[in-house]
């Protein structure tokens, strides 16, 4: 698995998304370089999942432009490259075993059948699930189910990986292990990753850059200039984390104010 020469960057310009009675995204601009790991941090309800739904082609009802590696995505169309998506919940098919769930994704992908076995072996081993391939989702713990959905997202060899708070429901120990695994996979494959979280320190540990969202758009961006591999106890990392955390709290408070003003003076 070598780094690809093609451009898998994302360029979002003037993205506007409205739901009945509210404008969730108000002219959002975002650039993610090819192979970059960007974390999106923002208060609950500020439109993070909404943004991923638009970028992945699930929601075609928006204004503005979205480009992947220079190729524009038609509103209502599909992204012009392969997307791996880890949802906020595992979203596994309960009537299929762990392995068949991964097969389901592979069957609809461009990965040639000859390579399926090797790919599955690799990621099942990496996530420690090889003994559970024949288990049904209800027989897996929450953390195992989330790891399985990580296997599914990675197995189709996506160019871009979207992750929506994938580790927020896990215990800290499992989450720590998975973060390190994720960084290993990212280092080996050079995918572009957009990672949503509520956790400032998780964002700092993982990202090249942390983008803090507030209501409507981007509030601030912080580049994490800490060399990799990173250590959880790194003092420099902790310092950046504190800055990120302060910005995040500011953004959350601004969102609160915006919401109460919004109800006081509806426009």
């Amino acid at each position: 698995m070598s780094r690809e020469a093609t451009d898998n960057g994302i360029l979002v310009e003037g993205l506007i998304k409205e739901f009945p009675g509210q404008r969730v995204l108000d002219g959002l601009d975002l650039t993610v370089a090819s192979g970059e790991f960007v974390c999106l941090l923002g208060p609950s309800g500020c439109g993070k999942s909404t943004l991923l739904n638009i970028l992945s082609g699930l929601d075609g009802d928006y204004r503005g432009t979205v480009r992947f590696g220079g190729r524009a995505m038609a509103p209502g169309g599909k992204p012009p490259l392969t997307i791996g998506y880890l949802f906020q919940e595992p979203r596994l098919l309960p009537w299929l075993t762990a392995e068949r769930n991964v097969d389901f994704a592979l069957e609809n992908s461009r990965v040639p059948r000859a390579r399926w076995a090797a790919i599955k072996d690799h990621y099942f081993a990496l996530t420690g699930l090889q003994a559970f391939r024949h288990y049904y989702p209800h027989q897996l713990s929450g953390g195992m189910a989330q790891r399985l959905s990580l296997v599914r997202a990675l197995a189709i060899e996506p160019d871009v990986l979207f992750m929506d708070e994938p580790f927020s429901g896990l215990d800290e120990l499992t989450a720590r292990r998975l973060r390190v695994d994720l960084l290993d996979i990212w280092r080996q494959t050079g995918k572009t990753i957009l990672f949503i979280t509520h956790n400032s320190y998780e964002a700092t540990f993982l990202g090249d850059r942390v983008v803090v969202l507030s209501r409507g758009g981007i509030r601030n961006q912080i580049t994490v200039d800490v060399p990799r591999p990173r250590d959880y106890d790194d003092a420099a990392l902790f310092q950046v984390g504190k800055t990120v955390s302060a910005t995040f709290i500011e953004a959350a408070e601004a969102a609160e104010r915006g919401r109460s003003e919004g109800t006081a003076h509806p426009d």
Binding site: A105, N108, S109, I156
Partner: protein
């Protein structure tokens, strides 16, 4: 299983007790009834009537499912369909089954087709409602998952929608069977020269309680067999992936 057996024995015992208190022309005991049933079987008249009834049940159920399942699924998935159809399903449910039977026999004639149409149309609304309620519980987030993973519309219908709807189809099959049995008997006494319903009505007119109960017993036994042995096994097979519920 033991619980089921116990409760059945209790009912038979109660039947036996009551039959001792009442004259045999009003309530023959279980033993007498079983004897009449066995005599009927030995006579060779049972299987002809039973097969006629079973054929109508199967045909009526197939028609009811063919109409009710698609209507229920569409109503559960599509809000527009739900709003336009729900009144009509309610109307169709309210019309007494006797009306369907009379109309079918008048319009189509006193034949097998009319009987099956009457049975099917009477039960279809209940099946549609059953499925409609069920399909509302479907996890639509799985459709989004499938779309992100590039599944085509057909793949989504076949591999994401269908497995989720199947439990509700099976439930409505069992539920529909219960309704179809009852309507079949009614339709038979109204316009058919054979079948369990015809026999019941015949012996009722002759005021032969032994025969009435014998046919009722036969009917119940066959129904229990289909429900407990065939349908439950089929369900266990189809839904092996489900977490086991132990009571």
């Amino acid at each position: 299983m033991l619980l089921k057996l116990g409760s059945m024995l209790a009912v038979v015992a109660a039947w036996f007790g009551l039959s001792l208190l009442l004259p045999a022309t009003v309530l023959p005991g279980p033993w007498q009834t079983l004897n009449v049933l066995i005599e009927n079987v030995v006579d060779g008249q049972v299987h002809q009537h039973l097969l006629a009834t079973l054929g109508r049940v199967a045909g009526g159920l197939a028609l009811a499912m063919a109409v009710g399942v698609p209507v229920g699924i569409v109503m559960g998935l599509n809000r527009f369909a739900e709003k336009t159809l729900d009144v009509w399903v309610m109307v169709a449910l309210t019309v007494p089954s006797l009306c369907y039977a009379i109309l079918a026999f008048i319009w189509i004639g006193l034949n097998e087709t009319a009987a099956i149409v009457a049975i099917g149309l009477t039960s279809a609304p209940s099946i549609a409602i059953n499925l409609w309620e069920g399909v509302k519980n479907i996890d639509t987030r799985l459709f989004k998952m499938a779309r992100v993973f590039n599944a085509s519309r057909w793949v989504i219908v076949r591999r994401v929608l269908f497995p989720q709807v199947l439990p509700y189809i099976m439930a409505s099959l069992r539920f529909g069977l219960g309704i179809v049995w009852k309507i079949t008997v009614l339709v038979e006494l109204l316009g058919r020269p054979d079948g369990v319903g015809f026999q019941l009505f015949y012996w009722y007119q002759l005021a032969d309680m032994g025969q009435v109960l014998a046919w009722t017993l036969l009917f119940t036994l066959v129904m229990l067999f289909i429900e407990l042995v065939i349908l439950q096994r089929l369900e266990r097979r189809l839904f092996a992936w489900r977490p086991e519920v132990r009571l």
